[in-house]
């Protein structure tokens, strides 16, 4: 096995280069279903992050104890327990948000992203790295969920972070933005097709940025060949 990944590369992998939602396209079910607003996306992202950090940590701790042939059922048990835990805690402390997200919280269990990280990373790495990887991957997912939610909410409804106070407390009313009551949004953004289109646009944008960065890097690597400065 190669040398363990550095923290930096775990972080950049989770958030950008190996973003589980934009690159691996895992966890599409919650992505498509809950991103009707930025607040929902953020809430779902945070819940997913909590589960993935806990499950990564646990899986890493027991990685030498669990025999390969039963590792998948063990992962499922661990993940299901933490999801139920998160669900209970949410019902107890964020009841209003739970009423919005309720159904989808239990679906975190079947989010392939989480079992994917347990299998691909946590079961092969030390606890500190596994925890950090969970955090990075969760952060990456949260960013995608919140951005897509914000996009769909803004285009479809003309608001941003509407009802954010349900999640973050009363101060969050300050970050709620509205284009006004009369705004007639593009309904398609809120409907399921809007999620696919929005996700497609986000993936395209990420690939464009990657391509641009690659070209810049290539241009910088061979400066002698080109005499004219490359267009910025």
């Amino acid at each position: 096995m190669s040398a363990p990944q550095s923290y930096g590369s775990i972080l950049s992998g989770g958030i950008w280069s190996n973003n589980q939602m934009l690159v691996a396209l895992l966890g599409l079910c919650p992505l498509l279903a809950t991103t009707t607003s930025a607040t929902n996306g953020l809430g779902m992202g945070l819940a997913t992050t909590a589960v993935i950090v806990c499950s990564n940590g646990t899986v890493s701790l027991v990685r030498n104890l669990v025999r390969p042939e039963i590792r998948i059922p063990v992962f499922v048990l661990v993940i299901a327990s933490f999801v139920t835990l998160v669900e209970l805690i949410m019902q107890a402390f964020f009841y209003d948000l739970y009423q919005v997200l309720g159904l989808f919280i239990s679906l975190i269990v079947v989010n392939c992203m989480i079992i994917g990280r347990a299998e691909a990373f946590a079961s092969k790495n030390r606890v500190d790295r596994a925890l950090f990887d969970g955090l990075a991957v969760g952060l990456g997912a949260t960013l995608v969920l919140t951005t897509l939610g914000g996009l769909r909410e803004f285009v479809g409804q003309g608001t941003l972070f509407h009802q954010a106070d349900l999640l973050l407390g009363d101060w969050a009313k300050a970050i709620s933005l509205s284009l006004g009551e009369d705004f007639q949004g593009a309904l398609i953004a809120i409907l399921p097709p809007g999620a696919f289109i929005g996700l497609g646009l986000m993936i395209a944008l990420k690939n464009l940025i990657d391509q641009y960065a690659k070209r810049r890097a290539a241009a910088r690597a061979v400066p002698a060949v080109r005499t004219d400065p490359s267009p910025a």
Partner: protein, 218 residues
């Protein structure tokens, strides 16, 4: 062979240990926050009831004074909860939780309060699956449509006018969504009919929590 049996046993034990560990974790958490969750549900329900009941006329707790009734034809479900609001012993209102079976995208749950004189104290949508941006205007948060029910009764408008405007009735429909408002108007009317039919029976005190009223031919 021995090692194989041993390995199977070991796997079983490890798996069992994880199952026990997971279940205990959930059980402990549930034990410690269960009360809080129940309280949240109670408070949320109470807030909802307060918006459709004349709070100043009530001095009992309708949530503690409930009744389970069964009238599938009019209330849409085999069991419907009825909360009774009173002032001392005199009846003030009942709140029912009818289900609209024929929503555009599945059943819609309502909360309907009917004052003792037969007028509506208010209607709220508890849960639904209607199309965002079209049918979801039935939510109080999205439009005022559902507030129009307040103060209506079986004589105001008259029974035959209990329909959306497209069907020759009194109630607005939404652009692009007629099925949703139509089914809700029908369900609210049926709820009023049920309350009228039952009369004082809905206010009868019950000895046990599981008391039921059967019937409701509609």
């Amino acid at each position: 062979m021995m090692t194989k049996a041993k390995s199977i046993l070991l796997s079983g034990v490890v798996l069992g240990a994880f199952a026990i560990g997971g279940v205990s974790l959930v059980a402990v958490t549930h034990g410690s926050v269960g009360e809080r969750i129940a309280d949240n549900q109670y408070q949320a329900m109470k807030r909802k009831l307060d918006t459709i009941l004349p709070a100043e006329q009530i001095n009992n707790d309708p949530l503690q004074d409930s009744l389970r009734v069964s009238a599938r034809d009019l209330l849409g479900a085999d069991a419907t909860q009825v909360y009774r609001a009173r002032h001392d012993e005199s009846p003030v209102a009942v709140v029912l939780e009818p289900v609209v079976p024929d929503g555009y995208a599945g059943p819609i749950k309502l909360l309907v309060s009917v004052l003792h004189d037969g007028t509506l104290g208010g209607v709220r949508v508890v849960s639904h699956h209607e199309t965002p941006g079209l049918g979801d205007k039935i939510e109080e948060a999205k439009s005022d449509w559902v507030l129009d029910f307040t103060g209506k009764s079986l004589t105001n408008p008259p029974l035959e006018k209990w329909a959306v405007k497209r069907d020759g009735g009194e109630f607005d429909q939404f652009t692009g969504a007629t099925i949703t408002p139509r089914s809700i108007v029908n369900a609210v009317r049926d709820t009023l009919l049920y309350v009228q039919q039952q009369g004082e029976a809905l206010y009868q005190p019950v000895e046990t929590e599981t008391a039921t009223i059967e019937g409701g031919q509609g």
